[in-house]
């Protein structure tokens, strides 16, 4: 086998699937904008994606904030720079860790669930049934999930930011012996609106990408249990990779000089 031909084939397949994903995303956005809409389905998805993800996102945020305070103290105390811990915790959580970790946790929980649900609907012909019942599957299945995830993830990240900072605060005060008033003053002095806004914009982008990958891989699921399993795996892996890629892109847009 010619290795160059194999590389070429892989590259062409990658380009083709990127094109298919872009077309799917475009069609998804079109159906989010153009009526009819399904507000009940959007609300149900907001509950599934947002409300039921709160425990996992909250736990991730609180332990991240706590570990961040501990690790920062270990490093910074060597240079007698313990006073920077509050700033490190709040900036790291709001700019990076809150959106990225919440995004990755939601990609695992929600991206997989979306791919499995839509994939099962594909292999049991429920998506074809929707079409025969004069209902556009993009409007009924894809658009509500895209809207719900894009709207909900920023709210989840806002909660994660607060819980993460609180986690750092608890460890700093009760374990590391910081003064509560000065810790909070340091936290709010350094924090700017753009730090939180950039995190929320990232969260909206990640929410869209998670739902898009779940819907795309579920919609194109191959037949059988293996096909649905594969769709679920692809949704989580591609969602996670896209989160990390777009995290850099959005950070570059907000903070590069």
């Amino acid at each position: 086998m010619n290795p160059l031909a194999a590389i070429g084939r892989t590259f062409l397949a990658f380009l083709a699937s990127t094109g298919r994903m872009a077309l799917f995303a475009g069609l998804g956005i079109f159906h989010c904008i153009v009526p009819p809409w399904y507000p009940r389905l959007v609300l149900r998805q907001i509950m599934d994606i947002g409300y039921f993800s709160l425990p996992v996102v909250g736990l991730t945020a609180v332990f991240t904030g706590m570990v961040l305070a501990l690790q920062s103290y270990t490093g910074f105390s060597r240079f007698e720079a313990e006073g920077a811990i509050a700033s490190i915790v709040v900036l790291s959580v709001t700019r990076e860790l809150g959106p990225v970790l919440a995004g990755l946790m939601v990609a695992g929980r929600v991206g997989a669930a979306i791919a499995a649900e839509i994939g099962t609907m594909r292999v049991t012909e429920q998506i074809d049934a929707l079409t025969t019942l004069s209902t556009n599957p993009f409007k009924y299945l894809v658009a509500p999930r895209l809207i719900a995830a894009t709207v909900t993830l920023p709210l989840l990240v806002l909660v994660a930011d607060i819980i993460g900072v609180m986690g750092g605060y608890v460890v700093s005060i009760h374990k590391l012996g910081f003064n509560p008033t000065s810790y909070l003053a340091n936290t709010f002095d350094i924090l700017e609106v753009m730090d939180v806004v950039s995190g929320l914009v990232k969260a909206a982008v990640f929410g869209f990408l998670i739902a898009l990958m779940g819907c795309y891989h579920g919609y194109h699921s191959k037949r059988g249990a293996q096909g649905v399993g594969q769709a679920t795996t692809y949704a989580v892996v591609s969602g996670s990779i896209l989160i990390l890629t777009f995290n850099y892109i959005v950070t570059e847009m907000f903070f590069s000089r």
């Binding site: 074809d128 025969t132 019942l133």
Partner: protein
């Protein structure tokens, strides 16, 4: 039959998947109120044929007309109007498992916003009655009903919005012979009661003899025999004879390696 008089008019229908040609120029007409049953081996293109007519698969070439109007390359609204004429009973039922039985049956009525939820529920229970199911199943989930009941619910969903044309994809597959006969009887009775035109695909010869007016046999992407159900035993086609008697020996060969 001229295309003006046909409910469904198909000419030169072609479809390939990659290098595999599945449909190689299919021609057929179905008159108003007629029941056409398409028979053929597994993978012969039966499902692809009806999915092309329904618009679930885009054909590579050919003409499809419903009531004399073109059914290919339609815009969203035109497609919705056309779909309102169709009902479809899928092989596995394809019921929405997150909804109750009555929500499945009334799905189209609710989506079209032609009925309130209360009216839609009443209409669903009335339609369930037409397929021999009582209101007691209305609030069950599809996972809580048997295979035979699931087919009946799927039939009720297909006829709930009173379409003109219904497609049946292997309506008796996976059912015991008695339940299969009950489904066949239901198909005949709802067709007569609602004046439906039906196109079915099946392997089940008992079903063919019960529900068909006309039978078409598909082999290697073409209709090789079409005739009335009464002529099927004297078709003069070796292919049809082999199929209806279920013989391994004959002109239709399977790609099976001999031990």
């Amino acid at each position: 039959m001229s295309s003006e008089h046909a409910k469904i008019h198909v000419r030169g229908l072609k479809k390939s998947f990659g290098r595999k040609t599945v449909l190689d120029g299919i021609d057929f007409d179905v008159a108003k109120g007629e029941s056409l049953v398409i028979i053929g081996g597994s993978g012969s293109g039966k499902s692809v044929t009806i999915k092309c007519v329904l618009g679930l698969i885009q054909p590579d070439a050919g003409v499809i007309e419903i009531d004399g109007e073109k059914a290919t390359s339609l815009s969203g609204r035109e497609r919705d109007q056309l779909m309102a004429k169709f009902g479809m009973l899928f092989q596995g039922g394809a019921l929405f498992d997150s909804m109750t039985v009555w929500e499945n049956v009334a799905f189209r009525l609710i989506q079209e916003r032609s009925h309130s939820r209360k009216q839609a529920r009443e209409a669903a229970i009335e339609t369930l009655g037409m397929v021999g199911l009582g209101g007691d199943v209305a609030d069950l989930l599809p996972s809580e009903v048997s295979g035979g009941m699931m087919k009946r619910v799927a039939l009720a969903r297909a006829i709930a919005a009173r379409p003109d044309i219904i497609f049946f994809d292997e309506p008796t597959t996976g059912l015991d012979p008695i339940t299969a006969d009950v489904i066949n009887d239901l198909i005949v009775s709802v067709r007569e009661k609602l004046g439906l035109t039906t196109v079915s695909i099946t392997h089940d010869m008992a079903s063919v003899r019960k529900i068909a007016d006309r039978v078409a046999m598909i082999h290697q992407g073409q209709f090789i025999w079409t005739g009335s159900v009464g002529d099927i035993d004297n078709s003069g086609s070796e292919y049809v004879d082999q199929f209806i008697h279920g013989r391994a020996e004959g002109p239709i060969t399977m790609d099976i390696r001999k031990p």
